[in-house]
């Protein structure tokens, strides 16, 4: 085990980018910038940037609070105010944070929104979340309904519906809020830039097909998707970041190196896994270490596709700006039906030469979790590899039980080791 903390240049850069974004948000009101609260799945970053708006993503607030060990306190605050213990902890964490002064990860207050942009993509809770936030802010809300892929396809009618909402509802509202007319040529430039970043993101994610995998596509994947899923798609900074990440990955492949983890570089790849479901954020490092200690690397994950299924071929297309934004929203992982999710996970197991797959079922997220036990059985049947199932939560520390999860993982790794004819050392 390495004891030296290793950070690649791209990791440092993405951390700086995100910190800088929060600093910009803290200065937004003073600098006259308009602020839009919106969600990661189906985010319309290019359109917001075309209006020079700054985005706040409430899920990112919540996960940042989880990583900073603040979420337990925020959730308790929301529950004291009458929010049920049964519902999404992202929502309660965000509302609790708001009730406690809306202090962002840099320690500065987040600005109030000028617009709540409810991109209703694959998560029912989003709708309630913004109905709840709307009660606390004096600003307009725009609902963009993204039809669900119930039959596993995106139809022209669905694209048209989303497109019309974007053009006829959202754009006029953004023009009203910002006082600016949309410059469609600028939007197209931003979309072209996005496509270039997306190309490199896919290159990074698909590098995990190599043995050893140079990346961890779940825990490490969070770093790789960060800029694209937050506020940087369409920017030169994102292009630079993704080029840097792609170059680093190429170097690691050439050198036969494993992924960089907080515990150091993974030297001995023993197990290759696919993971379904979001990570736990309150014990992110502890959770990751359980895999590191066993020599397990995550070669593909579904969570990293909630903000776009680029690895299935989607790229923003500047030639069709409205349709491409609609198709992007419609194609997010959380908008896929269960049979498609089964196929995607089974394809990952095959294409990334995985030994098995793991479902991290989070209590908070019915969109992900309802049906995961059925997914487990169908993926096993389809790919012939064993699955494992653990339960935790997104940001509620009460629902992360390290010993239970560790026990389950160790049993799973032992089983995998036996199947591979290896000695068990974890």
């Amino acid at each position: 085990m390495s004891t030296k903390v290793i950070k690649e240049e791209s990791m440092v850069k993405q951390k700086e980018m995100i910190a800088d974004h929060f600093k910009k948000l803290a200065r937004a009101k003073a600098e006259g910038k308009k602020v839009v609260y919106t969600f990661v799945p189906g985010n319309l970053t290019e359109l917001l940037l075309a209006f020079d708006c700054l985005a706040v993503h409430p899920e990112i607030n919540a996960l940042q609070s989880g990583m900073r060990k603040k979420s337990g306190e925020y959730i308790a605050e929301a529950e004291r105010a009458g929010h049920s213990e049964d519902v999404c902890t992202y929502v309660k964490c965000d509302i609790g944070m708001l009730m406690k002064g809306n202090i962002g990860p840099t320690g500065e207050e987040l600005p109030e929104p000028d617009l709540l942009l409810l991109s209703y993509t694959g998560c029912y809770t989003f709708m309630k979340w913004f109905e709840l936030l709307r009660e606390r802010y004096n600003c307009p809300t725009v609902m963009i309904q993204v039809p669900y892929q119930g039959d596993g396809e995106i139809t022209p009618k669905m694209v048209e519906y989303v497109t019309r909402q974007l053009r006829e509802v959202l754009v006029p509202k953004l023009e009203e809020v910002t006082g600016k007319k949309l410059d469609e040529a600028r939007l197209q430039e931003l979309l072209a830039s996005s496509a270039r970043s997306e190309e490199n993101l896919v290159h990074v994610l698909e590098s995990a097909k190599h043995r050893p995998s140079p990346i961890d596509a779940y825990f490490g994947g969070v770093y790789y998707i960060g800029p694209l899923f937050t506020s940087f798609r369409g920017t030169p900074e994102a292009e630079e970041y993704y080029q840097m990440a792609a170059d680093e990955v190429d170097q690691r492949v050439a050198a036969g190196l494993g992924p960089v983890t907080p515990e150091g570089q993974l030297e001995n790849e023993r197990f290759r896994l696919v993971v379904e479901g979001p990570p736990n954020w309150t014990h992110f490092r502890e959770f990751w270490k359980m895999f590191y200690d066993a020599g397990a690397v995550i070669v593909a994950s579904t969570y990293t596709k909630v903000g776009g299924t680029y690895d299935r071929g989607f790229r923003h297309d500047p030639a069709r700006p409205w349709e491409t934004l609609a198709e992007y929203c419609l194609g997010c992982y959380t908008n896929l039906n269960l049979p498609d999710r089964v196929d995607m996970i089974a394809d990952y197991v095959r294409d990334y030469h995985a030994d098995g797959f793991l479902i991290n079922s989070v209590k908070s997220c019915n969109s992900f979790s309802a049906g995961q036990l059925v997914i487990l059985r169908h993926v096993e049947e389809k790919c012939g590899k064993p699955g494992a199932f653990i339960e935790s939560d997104l940001v509620d520390p009460r629902y992360f039980s390290p010993s239970n999860i560790k026990n389950r993982l160790e049993s799973y790794f032992q089983m995998l080791a036996q199947r591979k004819g290896q000695e068990v050392t974890a």
């Binding site: 105010a81 009458g82 929010h83 049920s84 049964d86 519902v87 999404c88 929502v91 209703y120 998560c123 029912y124 809770t125 709708m127 309630k128 979340w129 109905e131 709840l132 709307r134 009660e135 307009p140 809300t141 725009v142 609902m143 309904q145 039809p147 669900y148 119930g150 039959d151 009618k157 669905m158 048209e160 519906y161 019309r164 909402q165 006829e168 509802v169 039906n337 269960l338 049979p339 999710r341 089964v342 079922s361 209590k363 019915n366 969109s367 979790s369 309802a370 049906g371 995961q372 036990l373 059925v374 169908h378 339960e391």
Partner: protein, 388 residues
């Protein structure tokens, strides 16, 4: 017929998890089909016009032992989907030729995918409702979606639906909802005449009976119940909200009354009254169905409330209209729509000085005493002090 025999018939339909009525209905004609649907809303007119019996599936209540269903869902998922899966995998829903899963929440949405995986030979459709209420945008999407579903139902039933047939179905369901409303209005006016359990069972029968048969039943009940001499009790008048999907066991409904509450309004089995009789009976019928949905002022948690500051206004109006003295929030455990909505609705009630209490249940809740005590205390508080 007597009231007792009507309610006994409803009780028998409620108890029959094997859907005997559906099998008999199908056997009574050639090529008859039946299509199930989950809460909260689907336009049943499409099914009926195509010669299909719409069958509301709301789980197994407290009558079904869950074995296979529990293997599909984690402990933190509500109870309804596990009992629906149990009904499906135990063959009790084999008489259904298809299933519609409306956009009520993520769990029912994902249940549509589970159904596709478990029943690949059946017709399974996710029914997306519009949240954009502009006729030219959300309406156009919704009309296309309705036509798509109608086309699929036509293939299933082998019957091409004419506009006149669809308009006839609209007339019939308007009448059905008008009669259901009449039962509710009578209960709100004279709650001692219509016990909450009677009302519940009558509405529950509407999930399975053919609409014309259900209309006849409601008409007969309304005639007979006015002749019935039932004692007036000094109960508190309450509105129950949050139970629009997974249903409470009938004993829980009974427990509320025993605790001293007259249930004068509720959102159980909304489909029987949703949209009222507002669907236009002339003109283009698909447009009429779409417009009725887009323009209804009715709210429920699965429907987005537009950005005009009226969240909770509908509930407050319903309290005033029904003469309720307080609101009981009764939500299934782990029900995202009801539980996420609750703080907003409570705030709207607080602003109007309307008292409320809240509890959770599941469809197989057996321990009713705490709920009875809570409802009793709530009713006593209203009676003693007139406010909560």
């Amino acid at each position: 017929m007597t009231i007792t025999s009507i309610i006994e018939r409803c009780q028998a339909l409620y108890d029959d998890l094997d859907l005997g009525y559906v099998k008999e209905w199908k056997a009574a004609g050639t090529d008859r089909k039946a299509v199930g649907y989950l809460p909260t809303y689907i336009p049943r007119e499409l099914l009926w016009a195509a010669g299909c019996l719409p069958v509301g599936i709301v789980g197994g209540g407290d009558q079904l032992e869950i074995v296979k269903g529990d293997a599909c869902f984690q402990s933190y998922i509500c109870h309804l989907p596990r009992s629906v899966v149990e009904l499906g995998l135990s063959g009790r829903l084999d008489c259904l030729d298809g299933m519609l899963f409306p956009a009520t929440c993520d769990v029912i949405r994902n249940l549509s995918g589970i159904w596709k995986l478990y029943f690949p030979d059946k017709y399974v459709k996710y029914f997306d409702i519009p949240h954009n209420y502009d006729s030219a945008i959300g309406g156009e999407f919704y009309e296309d979606h309705l036509r798509e579903i109608l086309g699929e139902i036509e293939l299933l039933s082998g019957h091409q639906v004419t506009d006149d047939e669809l308009r006839d179905a609209i007339v019939l369901y308007n009448e059905n909802r008008r009669l259901a409303d009449a039962v509710y209005e009578l209960r709100a006016k004279e709650p001692w005449r219509v016990p909450a359990t009677d009302c519940y069972l009558l509405m529950r029968a509407g999930l399975v009976l053919a609409p014309d048969e259900h209309c006849a039943m409601l008409r007969e009940y309304l005639e007979l119940v006015r002749l019935e001499d039932r004692p007036l009790r000094d109960n508190a008048r309450v509105l129950v909200v949050g139970a629009f999907c997974e249903q409470p066991p009938i004993d829980l409904v009974r427990a509320l009354e025993y605790a001293g509450c007259y249930v004068v309004e509720d959102d159980f089995l909304l489909i029987n009254r949703w949209l009222g009789d507002t669907t236009a009976e002339t003109g283009e019928p698909i447009r009429a169905l779409s417009e009725a949905y887009l323009k209804t002022p009715a709210e429920t948690s699965s429907r987005y409330v537009d950005d005009d500051g009226r969240k909770g206004r509908y509930l407050v109006d319903l309290v005033r209209k029904s003469g309720a003295e307080g609101v009981v929030f009764a939500a299934p455990s782990f029900c995202d729509p009801a539980l996420l909505d609750r703080p907003m609705l409570q705030a709207a009630l607080d602003a109007e000085g309307i008292g409320h209490t809240a509890f959770k249940y599941s469809e197989n809740t057996g321990q009713l005493q705490p709920i009875r005590e809570q409802a009793g205390t709530f009713a006593d508080t209203i009676k003693l002090w007139g406010t909560v």
